[in-house]
Subunit: 388 residues, 2 copies
């Protein structure tokens, strides 16, 4: 089995790109990643596009061959991979496994989405394509509704407070100010969060990530190719994708997301490390409460300690050494669903290269966590800066 | 690298399944394939779902985790793979490569689509998601339009006649009569084909495949697992997926489909055989002219000889030993787009097991050819019956 590296990353800004097509956004990010890798384009053996609702929102499928052709890459496997909001990290997982299995030695993975500029109803309806329509969609469940249930339950079981949950948004907006790729670059007060419009009780407007356009890409390569073209590169110490409960009725406990727990367990085992070794993490804060649940399930806090944990992180006496979502996270950097997974990897690569605008000093090990549906498809990636 | 086998196949009938959801159809086919393989379900290492327009037509994405959960399979990579009408054969290719690279030793791949019961305009509009909207869709190109151009050009360049093209439908409807899975099980006359309603000159109604619901699945395994659980199994001698021109302006010549030519070349080279060694083929006859073009590009006939070739095949003096589309093909068995690739593999496996209702006597080597978009994503699989 080959060791797998990330030799290049690229990204558009996240936000509103009304004049750009899906294919254009994808090509911009993929070209940047290939250029960043220094790898000649003719060495790219496959093109994977992570995308969630390009069909529903833009009437465009077949993104694999279209993006490949527009990159000037021909006669390679070129596919779209969909796992809802985890589409592009799932595509990275597949690419990782094909490099690890020595089938290909260089694959470009690009995640892309266009979500802005449509009526809110159309957006909400498109997002529910990641809910089991047959068993839950018919009852009207939406993602704010799901996370409202989770938030209520977390507050009930662990005494988590409204202020603690809201401080996730405050923290991540603060990080967003200095991330040039972020959609929201202004601070917000806790009062503004907890008094914003009620969406799905107790979830309020500023507990929710925005709708976002954008694309991000990574080039995965064998260690040999990385050494040749892009040294030092970033080693993928673990790439795990698991399926998990798809309906709330499948959950034993709504505040414990089995997919995240299991993906994290396997990732730490594969990399031979634990959560205490992680310096920086980009995790799936689609809603403020999600950061609390996820940071517990990833092992950064004991279950129920995520609320105090996030407050401590912002008050200078952190309960965990890991810095969470210094990109601004989905809440502030934005959430172009199909692009988010690659966007998180972009951020961690910048951290491990020591050139991130919100640099975590001395960061050597980074984690990304990306979830699709009601945490029904979960990826965890562990990246490591290596001296070559 | 491991040798890859197909240990199990399953399929619903192809046709109209108005009361079945995407997830139910997929589960029926996948369960049948797993049962057919004799492999305990806990040995399945990944679940890939090939699907094209489940988002646009049914508002349902996230099919990987949903189908996995409904099969009772948890904590595995579970994804949707999309390459338009080649979605499920592209998913098979990925699964093949992961078994070949020894990442997994058993993967279930299921293709599924629901296309019936909607207004014709909604169907046509959904299908054009496989056309580059930015460059061609805006001009109104549809698939009947594309194949109308190809048909005109083939008739102009090679003297192919209207009757020759129409006889593809006549032949494939004849095969459909005795395939219990086929959507159309009645014969048709050449007069009926060439006098049917004009769709996109010179393409007429019965030159077009129908809109179809259905699902089909295959279980890919390592040779060791196949030997243990399902002997004799079917060996995958080659699994090739290539991207190719996505717009007609990218074509050097509309009657030569580079993706098919290149995929076939690589497949024959990988398997160490040539087109003359193929006993039976299921190829992508989405339109009658497509069977002629594809059978030429796959090397069964010289370019331009496909028209006389199909007539000879039906008159008892075949120009090639291969029997083409004994399932009835897309024209008669039907074309549930995302399911078609797995459906073709199902058919060839039945041939190589010597239990097909339209059995090709002594068939030992079979080929499938599946195309997405304007032949923009093309797979060729070569299967071989092995004595174990």
């Amino acid at each position: 089995m080959a060791s797998v590296h990330i030799a290049g990353v690229g990204s558009t800004s996240f936000g509103s790109h009304p004049s750009q097509s899906l294919q254009n956004l994808a090509v911009i990010a993929a070209k940047a990643a290939i250029a960043d890798s220094n790898i000649p384009i003719e060495r790219i053996g496959a093109v994977f596009v992570g995308n969630f609702v390009g069909g529903i929102m833009m009437g465009q499928e077949l993104l694999g061959p279209i993006v490949a052709a527009n990159l000037g890459i021909s006669s390679v496997p070129a596919l779209k991979i969909e796992a809802a909001c985890a589409s592009s990290s799932a595509a990275v997982h597949l690419a990782h496994e094909l490099v690890r299995g020595e089938i290909h030695d260089a694959i470009v993975v690009v995640g892309v989405e266009r979500l802005t500029g449509v009526p809110r109803e159309a957006f909400t309806s498109a997002m529910t394509a990641a809910i089991d329509q047959q068993q839950e969609g018919i009852h009207g469940l939406t993602f704010p509704g799901f996370w409202g249930l989770v938030m209520n339950r977390h507050m009930h079981l662990y005494g988590t407070t409204r202020a603690q949950v809201g401080s996730v948004t405050v923290k991540n907006r603060q990080f967003g100010i200095t991330n040039p790729l972020a959609q929201f670059r202004k601070s917000i007060t806790l009062d503004e969060v907890v008094n914003s419009a009620l969406i799905a009780d107790p979830v309020r407007k500023f507990d929710c990530c925005p709708s976002t356009d954008g694309a991000a890409a990574v080039v995965l390569t064998s260690e040999a190719l990385a050494r040749r073209y892009r040294s030092p590169s970033i080693k993928v110490a673990a790439s795990i994708l698991v399926s998990a409960p798809v309906r709330i009725t499948d959950y034993a406990e709504l505040t414990i997301h089995d997919g995240t727990v299991e993906a994290a367990r396997r990732a730490y085992e594969r990399a031979g490390i634990g959560p205490a070794d992680v310096d920086v993490a980009e995790l799936h804060d689609c809603f403020s409460i999600a950061e609390i649940v996820d940071s517990e399930d990833l092992g950064f806090f004991a279950k129920g300690d995520g609320g105090p944990g996030v407050v401590a992180a912002t008050s200078g006496s952190p309960m965990a050494r890991v810095v969470i979502n210094p990109s601004g996270g989905l809440l502030s950097k934005g959430h172009p669903t199909g692009a988010t997974g690659c966007g998180q990897l972009y951020e961690i690569v910048m951290q491990l290269r020591d050139i991130h605008p919100n640099q975590v000093p001395g960061a050597r090990i980074g984690l990304t966590h990306n979830g699709g549906g009601t945490a029904a498809a979960v990826t965890v990636h562990l990246l490591e800066a290596v001296q070559q």
